[in-house]
Each structure stands twice: as structure tokens, then as C-alpha cells.
Symmetry: C2
Subunit: 204 residues, 2 copies
Amino acid sequence: MIFTSKLIEDAVEAFCKLPGIGKKTALRMVLHLLKEQPEVTSMFTERIQRMRDDIRFCKECNNIADTDICSICENPSRSKELICVVENFRDLITIENTGQFSGVYHILGGLLSPLEGIGPDQLYISQLVERVKQHQPKEIIMALSPTIEGDTTVYYIGKQLKGTNVLISGIARGIAFGGELEYTDEITLGKAIAKRLPVDVLQH
Amino acid sequence: MIFTSKLIEDAVEAFCKLPGIGKKTALRMVLHLLKEQPEVTSMFTERIQRMRDDIRFCKECNNIADTDICSICENPSRSKELICVVENFRDLITIENTGQFSGVYHILGGLLSPLEGIGPDQLYISQLVERVKQHQPKEIIMALSPTIEGDTTVYYIGKQLKGTNVLISGIARGIAFGGELEYTDEITLGKAIAKRLPVDVLQH
């Protein structure tokens, strides 16, 4: 696609780098911004830039946060006795939106995958083990996608936590094997959290 | 949807204001930028902001331009004898990409629509008439969408240009009535430009 303006071309290219955006869609966005008042673009770029500049990761749970400790860990009405272990921020948000969970979270930042070369050192597993040993929660819920990588991660973390008194549970099956946690409907996911079972029961 | 970070929430909202972007898609974009190096976001916001700040409109043809005169009007190999009249920048780009047109353009900025309250004063019609009178091109091609608004605009411009010697042609039919010019395939559109006919022949 030929453009008659380098400024437009650069802006279209910038949008195209975002996931799922092709040239036609990118051009529509650029022309939309051009049609609106200049303040609309300033507010857009400022918000994106401020988000990238100021975002931090919670020192407790690795959640995306505006301050050193995220709003969930900081909230006194959330139970520190119950830690829900998730793969990433999107899964945390999905669970949070079921309204079924009142504990705190721990974000691993991925799942163990020997095939893709993702080992324990690339994930926030040692921090989880450290956290369990230090704060001694009653239970950790493994809310990982029911895939081979998810199950491997649950198994590995279980081994690392041997010797502690924490109960390790997994969210109840009801999600198809190989399914993506993010796209599960809220009712199913809410029930799956409410009906969680010990890992032994789940995997045998 | 609840987010645990105001920074994320603001950035998601900013993306949601763009056409066709919902909350899930916006969140995917925000998380994509968070995953990449900070420079990726800086380059993104800088390009968008620079585009909005520095863009101008060509004094000749009303095209989007980086300078006072757009790259097409400035190009000495483009024939000034032939002016292609289009509704907007997207239609110009679509025609430009057929590679069938070597003249210059004139962007109207819309079509006459009494129902939507769009009259001649809101469009760049008087500038076109002025341009024709001043530069006396041989022909103007009306490359407007074949809708009632398009035909009305062609008719109105034709009346304004009475008394000048310019030939007014329209791109050959081959595009369905009510169709959107932007989504026409390049071969059909290229042929339609090559086989253009005088307005009288087209409309009777």
C-alpha cells in the first residue's frame, strides 16, 4: 500500500506493530485521530506513554501495579491465607471479574515448557516458594490452564513446596483440556474456583 | 471489566476510543506494549503524536500532506491536465494503489447530502471550481461512490463548471450501486478509471 505522506505511513506502521492490526485497520485509526480534535490524540499518546513509564510490578505478587504493592495485596479485606497462582495478568483479571475470589494472587509470568526452553528460573516460582515459607498461607490455588504445561508447572511447584503445611488445590475441571483460561465464561470459571479440589484428586 | 491498576485502565480506555476496538482487544494491545521494551512504546506514541502535530492539508488539492503542497501535486511527472475528484483520503489512496492514474487529485472532504445537512459550503467545491478556472485542466474525473449523494455531487459540480471548457467524466460503472469505493478490488477499480465516460453518457 502506497501512502502519499511519510507522517501517515509512519503512524500506520506504528499501529501495525500492535497484535491483530493490519494496514487497513491501522489507516482507519490514523484517519480517525486526524478527524478528531488534536487533544484527542494528545490524551491518547499521553495515557499510553504514562502507562508504560509508570507501571511497576507488585513486590508481593508480581501483579501489574501503580505503586510498589498492588491494589489487591494492599487491600486489608483480601485474605492473605489464600493465594491464587495464575500464569499472567490477563488470567488474574479474568478471575477477578468472576467476583468469586477474595484472597490474593501470585503471577508466575508463564508456564514451564521444556520444549520452548522455559524453565523455573524464567518464572516467579522461587518467589512463590519464598512467600509461602515466610507468610505461611493456609492454601494455594493453582489456577493454571489445564494443558500439559499447566500440569507440569503445578507438579513442579508441588514438589518445591514439599515440607510446608500449605494445602495445594487446583480449580475444578469443567474447562476442556487444552482450553484457554482467558476465554472461559465467568459462570464456569467462578464455579471452578468455588469447587476447587486438592491436586492429588485432580490429577488422578 | 475491573482492572487492578488505574494506569492500565486509562490506557485500555484510550485504545477503546479508537474505531472497532473493544476492551479485550485494547487490553491485549496494552499488555503487548508492556511486554516489549520501553522504546517500542516511545516510538509508537511519538509517531502518532508527530503525525497529528505536523500533518497539513495540501493547498492545491486538500490531500493530507507533510508540507504545504502534497507529494502528488509536487511531482512534475503527474499531469496537471487531469484532475481526479474524490470524496476523501482513503479513496485517493485506493485509486493511487491501482497504479492506473497519472494525473492529480482534488479531495472534496465529503459528498453533498441534504438529509445529513451537508451543503456545498462544507465541502471543497468552490476551491475545485476556482482551480479549474485558474489552471484550465483538460478533464476532471468524478471518482465518487455511485450513490445518490455521489450522483448529486457530480450534478452540482457539473452545474458550477458550466461555461468552462473542461470535460467532466465519471469512472466507468462496474461498481454496484450503493457500493463503497474503498472496498472495491484494485483490478475492477483500475479498469473503471481506464474506461471512464462523459457524465451525460453515464447518467442516462
